[in-house]
């Protein structure tokens, strides 16, 4: 995995609602994604993580800030050519396999939809071949193309969703909680599939989730987001070894472990922003790099205490 930067997000702000009742879902968020890596974005409901994904793929407009893909700005107004190119290069996998497929369309149409849009195929033969290949790539049988979504299980439907993305030959895939709605044993299948495809096709993932155990397994780097702001960013194992921000710590302490002795004696750390960050008004926090590659949102006072934790 090289360090070439594929996607840059700079001071992204996304708002919802009309002028006087605006709700800021994403507030001044910045991070980079390197080519070939799996970048995990973790947060709870309402944190803004899904909104970030949707802003990158241009479903939600950015209120301010920039999103830059391979050196080109892709936020705001862009011309048709760039738009078409991005449709191919950046794609999204959705959370709910029961809601993300068109029930009234055959799997063949669902997987080919992108091809039809971009006319990205030669003849009808060619298109059929691409669909077949995509289905095989995700571990489904080509004969499934003539069936309807309701004939399949949740895991299979999610794989159909992945097939329709693959057929576009993308570079960056935004996976928005792709396994949250699946059964436990099916999750492993889909995770393995995503890892396999990444190797085969040199893909880059933005993996949005709230389940830290999964994110830990699959991500190279993780960003933790709370109420629209990224509070900590580090390589996976570094984050788990030295979680600094109190929100990260509370999140980590709450991860369920499949060990009854550990679980029953577990103590959850509760995150109380007002108590922790009592001096933010007078001493606002900044995005500080505390060790190479490990960033945290902290003001000077907090930074000092984090440094001490580190050394101990």
């Amino acid at each position: 995995m090289n360090k070439e930067i594929l996607l840059e997000v700079k001071n992204l702000k996304v708002e919802f609602g009309k002028s006087n009742k605006k709700f800021t879902a994403v507030n001044d968020v910045s991070f980079n994604i390197h080519k070939g890596e799996t970048f995990g974005l973790v947060g709870e409901s309402g944190s803004g993580k899904t909104t970030i994904g949707r802003a990158i793929i241009r479903i939600n407009p950015a209120a301010s800030g920039e999103i830059i893909y391979k050196g080109q700005t892709i936020s705001g107004k862009i011309d048709k050519e760039l738009d078409t190119e991005l449709t191919r290069k950046i794609q999204m996998i959705f959370q709910d396999p029961m809601a993300s497929l068109n029930e009234r369309a055959k799997v063949d149409y669902i997987v080919s939809e992108g091809l039809y849009n971009l006319k990205n195929y030669g003849s009808e033969e060619d298109r059929k071949k691409k669909v077949e290949q995509a289905l095989l790539d995700v571990g489904l049988l080509p004969e499934f193309a003539s069936r309807f979504p309701h004939e399949f299980s949740g895991g299979q439907r999610q794989r159909i969703g992945i097939a329709r993305v693959l057929v576009m030959e993308p570079e960056l895939i935004i996976a928005d909680e792709p396994i949250s709605a699946l059964d436990v044993s099916i999750r492993a299948q889909v995770i393995n599939l995503l890892a396999e495809l990444q190797k085969q096709k040199d893909l880059t993932y933005l993996f949005i989730a709230h389940d830290l155990s999964v994110v830990r397994f699959i991500s190279d780097r993780i960003a933790v987001i709370y109420k629209g702001k990224i509070v900590e960013l580090a390589e996976t194992e570094k984050l788990f070894a030295h979680p600094l921000h109190p929100y990260t710590r509370s999140l980590l302490s709450a991860i369920p472990t499949p060990n009854p002795r550990v679980e029953k004696s577990k103590v959850i750390e509760i995150y109380q922003p007002d108590k922790e960050h009592y001096d933010y008004a007078s001493n606002p926090p900044e995005w500080i790099e505390i060790e190479p590659g490990h960033f945290v949102l902290a003001n000077e006072r907090e930074f000092e205490s984090y440094k001490k934790n580190f050394q101990s």
Binding site: D183, S185, N192, S213, F217, L251, P256, I268
Partner: protein, 351 residues
């Protein structure tokens, strides 16, 4: 904690549904004993029948479902024989109450939250008016809602997801039930709230002397709350035992597969263990062990005869031919052994 008083006893329950002209057997002869004061977790994936199983204890099966055979014994009555609403009304709420998964849809959006709790009290506890209201406020406080007198007058949309689930629990507890069934109580909630809700349920269990059944597919939740675990697959309970027995000494290949596929056990860069294929079609009659087609350790007999329960200990049994003395010795997969080793190490580390 667990004394040996039996509070609910289910024997060989068979539940069928009429679906689009065909018959589906959702529960294929499940048996279970529930002891007073315990926390039992029923673990299974979608299609395992765990929700249907518990709904049958309260007469909440859909109109096209029916109990074909078997018994559900509660305080000397066989609930499986109940046919009329009048019979079930005596059970629902007052004896057995249920907390559903989605607090958004479990509450009446048009009624004040306090009223909904109070109604539950008035229906089941012989209190009315001011007395009922006082108790409602007390219960709201018990479930961790601050300023209960003020929040009594608020509507569900004024509460966050976690708070709403607390209200739902309050309504269930207000019935003063013997048994509380929690159907995926934390699946719709964030991880930090989840931990708090589970703690709340444990506290309430002590205070109100409840017996709780948790239905879930989340093994982390199970590890947190369960005294005993029943693992369900394709409408049957395939393993039953104390929490530590099932986690550290599982015997059924499905339990092995379930535990092995957890990401916590995964090694970065390698594939996670995953069970191939999908659960069986319950419209068809299943011959032998339902898990056999997906079981890499299947014996020929698994395709022929349904395995009976084999006892591993007085508290632990599993329905697999691998436990038959004539079966070849099969070691649990490496990941399961690894889990056990990790736990042993951790235990030593503490000492």
């Amino acid at each position: 904690m667990i004394n040996n008083e039996i509070v609910l006893s289910i024997e060989d329950l068979v539940i069928k549904f009429n679906l689009r002209g065909q018959e589906l057997t959702a529960i294929r002869g499940a048996s279970l004993t529930l002891y007073k004061g315990e926390s039992l977790a029923i673990v299974g994936e979608s299609g395992s029948g765990k929700s249907v199983f518990t709904k049958s204890f309260m007469g909440l099966l859909d109109a096209n479902g029916r109990i074909e055979s078997g018994s559900i014994l509660y305080q000397g009555n066989d609930l499986a024989k109940y046919k009329t609403e009048d019979e079930w009304i005596k059970i629902r709420g007052k004896e057995i109450a249920m907390v559903f998964q989605d607090p958004m849809t479990s509450l009446n959006p048009l009624k004040k939250v306090g009223r909904q709790v109070q109604e539950s009290i008035e229906l089941h506890q012989n209190l009315k008016g001011e007395e009922a209201k006082k108790l409602a406020v007390e219960i709201l406080n018990d479930v961790g809602i601050s300023d209960p007198e003020i929040r009594y007058n608020q509507y569900p949309h004024e509460f966050s997801g976690g708070m709403r689930q607390r209200v739902v629990i309050a309504i269930a507890v207000a019935c003063n039930p013997n048994i509380l069934i929690c159907d995926e109580p934390t699946t719709a909630l964030d991880v930090t709230i989840q931990a708090q809700i589970l703690q709340l349920l444990k506290n309430l269990q002590k205070k109100y002397r409840l017996t709780i059944i948790y239905i879930t597919h989340d093994l982390g939740v199970v590890a947190n709350v369960a005294d005993r675990i029943a693992v369900m697959y394709a409408g049957d309970i395939i393993e039953l035992g104390l929490s530590e027995e099932v986690f550290f000494d599982p015997k059924h290949p499905y339990t092995w597969a379930l535990l092995s596929s957890l990401p916590q056990l995964g090694i970065k860069g390698e594939a996670l263990y995953s069970i191939k294929g999908t659960p069986p079609n319950l419209f068809k009659e299943i011959k032998g062990d339902a898990f056999a087609p997906r079981n890499p350790h299947a014996l020929k007999i698994d395709f022929e005869e349904r395995p009976p329960y084999f006892e591993v200990s007085p508290t632990h049994k599993a329905r697999t031919w691998l436990l038959d003395p004539r079966a070849p010795k099969v070691e649990p997969p490496l990941l399961i052994q690894k889990m056990k080793e990790m736990e042993v190490k951790r235990g030593e580390g503490i000492e």
